[in-house]
């Protein structure tokens, strides 16, 4: 578990790379794989810039990603599996890598999508960029795998050292391109990219991703959120963007200003319904946090529930996968 938390921090690390530590890690990874060290190491400010740098490499030779990363991992996984058995391996993975997998894999995929969108002016360019992205070692975003093997041998030390000190990197026979880490990363408590007033992820050269609670949004869309009105929210035709608008504006404010009436009220909370033109209704339960804030007030929050929900209790129960009759906490805080 101590490894997981350290690797969780690596996955979320921002700021300038320790270039010499990262380069030492990369060189060690080559030696551990039985390869000669690369002649050239090129630094780039972002994964996007790194892809461009890779495309400009001359005489770098073939990709050695399989030798440097994939094979050592496969060997370590086999060795650990043989040592621990199926149940032991499964327990190790669930206590380590599995805890970081979802958030880091989602983040890496968003970065890939962002690089492709930024670099491909024509759809036919996409496969070239995707091919370069396949050669990447994910550095800090390989944290889930590295957490699982941490403390179990030294064969992956070079990969781990590179991951602790830099972003993605591209290993070729004679050259390596290494990307800096992001300069800013904003996430919500669930680990999703999330920022309402600027990029949720940004690199020194301006490559950036915008997202609201994990949902990708255009930069100019975020800029318009500050001046939202209920009319503009109702007029937005894209259902996903309208949801972001509603969340940003605040359900409570929207409900008050649009004159919505509560549909149902019981001991668990209040059920609200907002009719939407050409889309399913927005149905929400308003619940009060049982534990008081430090100032003694109770925080109220809204959770969206399926449109067919009839009572507040059914709505709260649904959020925990139960039906209303089964939901009966004897104690809540």
């Amino acid at each position: 578990m101590q490894y997981v938390n350290a690797w969780r921090a690596v996955a979320a690390a921002t700021g300038a790379a320790d270039r010499s530590a990262a380069e030492n890690g990369v060189r060690l990874a080559y030696r551990s794989a039985g390869l000669a060290e690369p002649d050239t190491i090129v630094w780039a400010d972002s994964p996007r810039a790194a892809v461009e740098a890779v495309e400009k490499l001359i005489g770098a030779g073939r990709s050695v990603r399989d030798e440097v990363r994939t094979r050592p991992w496969a060997d370590e996984r086999r060795r650990t599996y043989d040592e621990l058995g199926p149940a032991g391996w499964s327990a190790l993975w669930s206590a380590t890598g599995a805890q970081l997998w979802e958030t880091t894999a989602a983040l890496a995929e968003r970065i890939r999508t962002g690089v492709v969108a930024d670099l491909c002016e024509r759809p036919e360019d996409e496969s070239d960029v995707r091919l370069v992205l396949l050669d990447a070692v994910l550095g800090q975003h390989d944290a889930a795998w590295l957490a699982a093997f941490d403390g179990r041998g030294d064969r992956l030390t070079g990969l781990a050292e590179a991951a602790r000190n830099a972003g993605w990197w591209w290993p070729y026979e004679r050259a390596v391109v290494i990307s800096e880490r992001p300069v800013a990363l904003h996430r919500d408590e669930a680990g999703r990219l999330d920022r309402g007033d600027g990029p949720a992820l940004s690199y020194a050269d301006g490559f950036a991703l915008h997202a609201w609670r994990g949902m990708p949004v255009p930069a100019e869309f975020l800029a318009g959120l500050a001046t939202l009105t209920p009319e503009r929210i109702r007029g937005e035709e894209n259902a996903e963007l309208r949801r972001v608008m509603l969340e940003f504006y605040g359900y409570d404010r929207y409900l008050a200003e649009s004159g919505a009436e509560p549909v149902h009220r019981d001991e668990t909370g209040i059920l609200w319904r907002i009719a939407m033109d050409g889309d399913e209704d927005v149905v929400m339960v308003e619940v009060v946090n049982s534990t008081p804030e430090p100032d003694g007030t109770h925080r109220t929050y809204w959770l969206r529930v399926p449109p067919g929900t009839r009572t507040a209790k059914d709505g709260v129960a649904w959020t925990f996968g139960l039906d209303g009759q089964a939901y009966a906490p004897v104690r809540q805080t």
């Binding site: 578990m1 101590q2 938390n5 969780r8 979320a12 149940a87 032991g88 327990a91 669930s94 206590a95 599995a98 805890q99 958030t103 996430r187 919500d188 408590e189 669930a190 680990g191 999703r192 609670r213 994990g214 259902a239 949801r243 889309d279 399913e280 149905v283 946090n289 049982s290 534990t291 959770l303 969206r304 529930v305 399926p306 649904w318 959020t319 925990f320 996968g321 139960l322 939901y327 009966a328 906490p329 004897v330 104690r331 809540q332 805080t333």
Partner: protein, 108 residues
């Protein structure tokens, strides 16, 4: 049935627990010796159980998490009051939210 923020803990009859889980190895504890039910990625605040017992991740009707407390325990969180739990087996459920076409977990 007990609820701490976005985590619901539901009693389970021992006879309902699948045989392969009764003696399954549990998850590792965190650096403070706790069983972590849910962790906030940004604040690091956790819904966690203090006391002897095991936590198992299990997909399906008994999952996503199953908790066994042979002597009872306490659920703690940095922002919520402590909840004492009796001895026994529990199913642990994380709160979710409806989104058209998808379901999202709630960030407490």
């Amino acid at each position: 049935m007990y609820r701490q923020g976005d985590v619901l803990i539901v009693e389970l009859e021992e006879s309902a627990v699948p045989a392969h889980l009764v003696a399954a190895p549990g998850e590792l504890r965190d650096g403070r010796g706790r069983l972590v039910l849910a962790l906030g990625e940004v604040t690091g605040h956790a819904h966690a159980v203090v006391g002897p017992g095991r936590l198992m991740r299990e997909a399906g009707p008994f999952g996503p998490m199953l908790l066994h407390l042979p002597e009872g325990g306490r659920v703690v969180h940095e922002e919520h009051a402590v909840i004492p739990l009796p001895r026994g087996w529990f199913r642990v459920v994380r709160q979710r939210e409806y989104a058209p076409g998808a379901v999202r977990i709630v960030a407490d």
